[in-house]
């Protein structure tokens, strides 16, 4: 496979995968368990979810390492196993990709505020992100993929950490715009785009979010602010609502496919799904955007 940046430069659309967490719950991840901890003992179901996305048409799959920073691995008691957990997760994803898809090393937020609101300093954050990024890179991921960011400083720390790893590894980053068109920390799509552009991030955009409409609007604004950067859109399958005691995400595969086409029309080059999306959603997206 040509490297992912060349593929992006050619202008073709890359289909990314869908949700991992909500899928793992269906194949046995206990409620509340850390997916990163669980995969050490249960590589097969994780590999299975990855493979299902590849077979559905995903060209890019994300490692199961959203909570793979030291800060997040503390709870399952794995703070001293950052390298081991991230490398194992990357291996599992690479096995599932089997050369048919790119593997992105997923880096999620630390789940705590940076100083002055929280206790973690910017420097400590950079160090933690660098630690995770180094492990993912060592395991041979094609790109470091920072996602679901809300705080500009945390995103900067994550990018800085990723940039310490090895020269030339591509870096992607996406924010979650879920509050009146901004992130819950108040970052606008334009501010995010400007910051990421200045940091030299290779592709960026919006993931998770609240409604598909809000994520679409955010992606359009990021594209406007940085027209030459490939835009990523990886939204939730709408919003969850309760039907009796079951949570149901309201966007069907057909809904997501329709949105994916409009994302591409407004400049997105990487489209996929986040919470609540399934291989069926990704298959519908792939069929729609690859025509």
């Amino acid at each position: 496979m040509e490297d992912i940046l060349s593929r992006l430069k050619s202008g073709s659309v890359i289909v990314a995968d869908g949700a991992m967490g909500t899928m793992l719950q269906e194949v046995g991840l206990p409620t509340g368990a850390s997916p990163e901890g669980w995969l050490m003992e249960n590589p097969d179901p994780v590999r299975g979810v990855h493979r299902a996305y590849v077979e559905a048409g995903a060209d890019l799959i994300l490692t199961c390492t959203f909570g793979g920073t030291r800060a997040r691995l503390e709870r399952p008691g794995l703070a001293d196993h950052v390298a081991e957990v991230n490398q194992r997760a990357a291996e599992i994803a690479r096995e599932a990709a089997a050369g048919d898809a790119y593997v992105a090393g997923d880096i999620g937020p630390m789940g705590e505020f940076l100083a002055p609101m929280g206790k973690i300093t910017y420097e400590q954050a950079v160090e933690m992100f660098a630690e995770q990024a180094a492990a993912l890179a060592a395991a041979g991921v094609d790109v470091l993929y920072i996602e679901t960011m809300s705080d500009l400083n945390e995103a900067r720390a994550a990018v800085a950490g990723a940039q310490q790893v090895e020269a030339g590894i591509p870096i992607f980053a996406t924010f979650s715009f879920d509050s009146h068109g901004r992130t819950n920390m108040g970052v606008s799509p334009e501010q995010a785009a400007e910051a990421l552009l200045a940091l030299g991030v290779d592709a960026f955009g919006a993931n998770c979010g609240a409604t598909l409409e809000m994520t679409e609007e955010a992606a359009a604004k990021m594209h406007e602010a940085a027209p030459h950067v490939p835009i990523i859109v990886k939204p939730n399958a709408g919003r969850p609502h309760m039907v009796g005691r079951e949570a149901v995400y309201d966007a069907t595969p057909e809904d997501m496919a329709k949105y994916a086409c409009s994302f591409v029309a407004l400049g997105a080059r990487i489209v996929g799904g986040c919470c609540g999306s399934t291989p069926a959603h990704i298959a519908a997206i792939a069929a729609a955007v690859k025509d």
Binding site: G32, S179, M185, G186, R239, H241, M242
Partner: protein
């Protein structure tokens, strides 16, 4: 309202803890009663902050800094109230936490902070809190409000488990239960027998005030 109180209110709105502390000292030196300052500067200031959050002018950092400013002023007024043998009117006692299996902290802490700043006594039990722990802390604190946060579609059911545990412990009539978290909603509150749902930290304050009739 005196100029000092107006400035104090503004310091809360813009989230300046150092200024708020200084102005609180200034207010006491000017013989302004601490309860007057709380009622006329701090509470209305937080009200403005809440409204701005609701309308999308303010975001999480603004709320946090306003609450810090409020706390800084209260650190001055608190001892002054004790010296006068007065008490800030406590609106109610809240036990709040994120339910078992769920480690989402931020939303829950924000609700706790806003309730505290609005005059409630708040016991924040943290995240991944078992139902039995909620029951125990309600007994210990004689709380009349329980706040249950869940951000995952899978952990929402543990909100129901807490409601049931409160029922079994004979505490359900003593407390009003408010739930929150992205997947939840008013229907879910009804399904599991909670008293109310709140969409965000600001709404939580209004909802809880309504539930306790203040």
């Amino acid at each position: 309202m005196s100029g000092t109180l107006e400035q104090l209110r503004e310091a809360v709105i813009v989230g300046e803890p150092d200024q708020a502390r200084g102005l609180a000292v200034q207010a006491l030196e000017a013989d302004i009663e601490p309860l007057t300052a709380i009622d006329e500067a701090l509470n209305p200031g937080m009200q403005v902050v809440g409204d701005r959050y609701e309308s999308g002018q303010y975001f999480i950092p603004d709320l946090m800094m306003a609450a810090e400013a409020m706390k800084a002023a209260m650190a001055v007024f608190g001892p002054a109230l004790v010296a006068r043998q007065e008490q800030r009117h406590v609106l109610g006692t809240v036990v709040i936490g994120t339910v078992e299996g769920d480690i989402h902290e931020i939303g829950k802490s924000l609700v706790a902070t806003m309730l505290g700043a609005s005059g409630f006594e708040v016991y924040d039990l943290g995240v991944d809190v078992p139902a039995a722990e909620f029951v125990k802390r309600v007994q210990e604190t004689s709380a009349n409000i329980v706040g249950l946060s869940a951000l995952l579609t899978t952990t929402m059911r543990n909100q129901e488990a807490v409601v049931e545990a409160l029922e079994e412990a004979g505490l359900r009539t003593q407390v009003k239960v408010v739930i929150g978290g992205a997947p939840a909603g008013p229907e879910w509150a009804e399904t599991i027998g909670a008293d109310a749902y709140a969409e965000n930290a600001n709404e939580a304050v209004d909802v809880v005030k309504q539930l306790v009739g203040v």
